[in-house]
Every structure is written in C-alpha cells, then in structure tokens.
Symmetry: C2
Amino acid sequence: MKVKSIENPSQEDLLNILSEGLSSEAIITIFAHCRVHYDGRAKSELGNGDRVIIIKPDGSFLIHQREKREPVNWQPPGSRVSFQVEEDRVRIISVRRKPRETLEVELLKVYLASYLQAEDSEELTLMGSEAEMRDYIFENPEVIEEGFKVLFKEKPIKHGIVDLLGRDKDGNLVVLELKRRRADLHAVSQLKRYVEDLKEEHGNVRGILVAPSLTSGAKKLLEKEGLEFRRVKPPKREKAQRGKQKTLDSF
Amino acid sequence: MKVKSIENPSQEDLLNILSEGLSSEAIITIFAHCRVHYDGRAKSELGNGDRVIIIKPDGSFLIHQREKREPVNWQPPGSRVSFQVEEDRVRIISVRRKPRETLEVELLKVYLASYLQAEDSEELTLMGSEAEMRDYIFENPEVIEEGFKVLFKEKPIKHGIVDLLGRDKDGNLVVLELKRRRADLHAVSQLKRYVEDLKEEHGNVRGILVAPSLTSGAKKLLEKEGLEFRRVKPPKREKAQRGKQKTLDSF
DNA sequence: GCCTAGGTCCCGTTA
DNA sequence: TAACGGGGCCTAGGC
C-alpha cells in the first residue's frame, strides 16, 4: 500500500500513520491546527493556526502556512524525528545535532494524516546556471573579446575562488566574475577583491563582470574602480558531460 | 467542511478537488506520480517519479521529492494556476508574469488529492536576527568599545547601506558590519567597500566586523586590510516595538 | 568538519 | 518598480 490517509484521525490513527510512515521511509503529510516552538541558531514562536506539515525520510521537516514559498518553520535533512503522546495531544519533535536545534510541533487538532511511500529515482536537469555560462565561455572565449584565452576555471587564489582566469591578446591577466542574473554591488566587490589579490603578484590585471545586466549602483562602482562589463546571458542548453579539466598551463 | 481528501481519485474526483480547493482559497496537496517542466529564469526537466505537490492560495506552488528541504521545482507567490484535461491525464500549469515563468506538472497517477481550508492569523516571532543585534548595539554601544557612539542605523552611503555608523572616543568615524553568524570573505569585502567609500569624504575611518566568529579566510583578509573584529553573539530576546529613530545628528 | 560561493534563491524594506 | 542586503538561508563542491 503506497499511500494511506485518514481524515480527522483518532489519536491512535495518528500514531499509526506516524509510526508506519517513519518506519517505511514515507513522506508524511499532516493537516493540523498546531503551535510551533523552535530553538537553535535562532529562536521562534508561532501561535495557533492551521498548517501543512511535511516530514521526509531524510529528516527534512517543513511547516507551511497558507502563504509564501518558504516554510514558516523547518528542520534540514539529517534531523531526527520523534513524538510524545500526552493525554489529549501529540507533540512531534525534530532534533538536529551540530548545530543543536530543536523543533517542536504541538498538534491541537489533526484534520488529515497521510503518507506516501514515494519511489523516485529521477534527478532534475537544469539549464541556464552560472556553471553552464562558465562552460560556454570556456569553450567560446571570443564572446568576451577577440584574442581572449582562458587559463583556469574555478581557480582558488589568496582570498577566494575566481570563476574564470585568462589572458587578453596583450598578455594581461583577466579575471572574469560571472553572474547568471543582473549583477549587483556585491558582485562588483567580489570582482574587486579578486583583482586586488592578483595585482599583488602580477602586473596589470583586468577585471570583467560578465552578466546579462547591471544594477545602477553596480554600474557606478564598476566604473569608478576601473572594472569592465560584458553582457552575456546564461545559455539554456542541454548539458553534455562536463570534463573536469581546469588548467591549461602555469601562468 | 474544512478538509477534503480522496485516495486514488478518479479524474472527476481530482478535478473537483482542484476546483473546490482553488475557489475556496484552500491549500491543495497532491501525492502523485508525475513529470515536471519548468521554463523561466532558467529551464528544467524532471522525469517520472512520486512527489508531493502543494498549491497555496497566494499562488505559491511547491513540488517536493523525498529528500531535501528545498522543493525540486516551484513557483513563487503571485503565480496563476490553471489545469488542462486530456483524455487520460491532467496537467496543472502555473504561470508567473514578470518575469515570465511557467511550471507544468503532468499527473500520470494520483495517489491522494486533498485540500485544507486553513485559518491562520498568526505570524512568526523570531529572536536572534541581525536586526536584534543592531538594536542591541544601538542601545549598548559600549559592547563595541569604551566611548563608542552610534550616529546612524542602516545608513545609505555612496555604494551601499551601512549597518551602523558611529564615532569612537577619538572622533574617528567607525563603520560596523554586523553578522548574526560566522562572518566570511563576503562580509569583509562588504565592510571594505563601506570603509573605502567613507574614506573619500572623511579623514580616518575605522571598519569593525561584528560577529560571533570569523572564517579563517575572513580573518586573514580582515587583518591585511587593517580592519577590526569584535566578537558579539546575536541576542535571543523578545523584541519590544523598535523605534524608527535613525539619526542623532549630522556628522 | 570548515570554507567558499551559487541560487529559478526568497524576502522585507526603502527610495 | 528597482535596488540593496539578510537568511535559522539551503545546497554543492573542495579540501
């Protein structure tokens, strides 16, 4: 039986769903009027209301209100679930170690208890990421400028990791910072950090921000710092297997 | 009737749940074997598998696999849901405008269709945020150092917005960058940007990173740049109503 | 485990 | 609306 659900379950029904769901590695979903307490990296309280609660077999724990994409409270994968039974109510507790965090849901009224023994071996294939942009430029360095050659992908330097490092036709070192979406002040600061880092050991170093567009503030700071911009949109292409080759030569 | 659920629903049952759920502003939850297509800021494909699908009345749309805290596919609040009926299957489509994004779920087999007319007026109260840290320092500037005085909270400068701006006992301008958790390279770059910005118009400017700890790389860069560190942990205290007072004086 | 950085980030706030 | 920065961010990839 792949799925099980009980509307307005008795306490016994609820405990059965929870035990069976947990032991069979199912995804458990509960509709309930509840209250939530969290303490860990931060601390929170949520008063009584109707929510959707999801417990996954990897320990992920989600509590959703009727709005927003984000769960109002949660626990990340690896957390351990248990439950406490009191006279008239059930408490679900999830504990994470390192950092220590506890999430406690007090179930005041359960409208629906259910689980699904999900079989799913598929993984998402995503197109249009920064990683694809990087591979695209690696293979087509001329989209940056004529004569540009890539030396390194994901190259660790003194303070950080550069997306792409290469040389222009005049032999200058060139740092590329890629953004899949509109680049902001943060992106410029990041690029500036890399350029200053490399300038300490090499002569002239150019920094180019590569993105579909720039925020107004990013443009101002970029120009003030003598950095450059190239407009490139992330390609939405099927990805072939990407080789791990990272270096062409010492520089 | 606050909740409704049907196991292994017929196509008619399923369409009823969807229509009723959407029109009554309920949270809809479906257990289904499905396939998913997304196109928008990026593009993705997800092959057949069992998932939990949640549709909220604000347009939020979540598709969860059996692992991870994050939905494998989603649509943010404000998206518009519709469905298409074919001979043997139902397709749920969610469209967002600005940017244009579409999410399409092909339901191959539905194990459970349900909705909850959730009533919930409670909001989360969170303790231990950076905002609380800021207020704490604003009220207790001596935790930074003896003689330190705050001038501005959340002060916009030329390139960015400074968390706290003040003066030390010698009259030097002091920029504080706060982090509620261990500060990294990014935080140092951010602080450096603010300090360089203010140095252009004021004489000596000190930059202090205020956080519970530092990453190794952040420490190295901080020292190299002549910036400082103060160890402060975010307070987990109940928040009173926070005044909006931001400035004490021109500087 | 720590560090570094991306994300279809989401989200709130402000000009 | 765009811009800016926080987040209990989460997640992936190195080391």
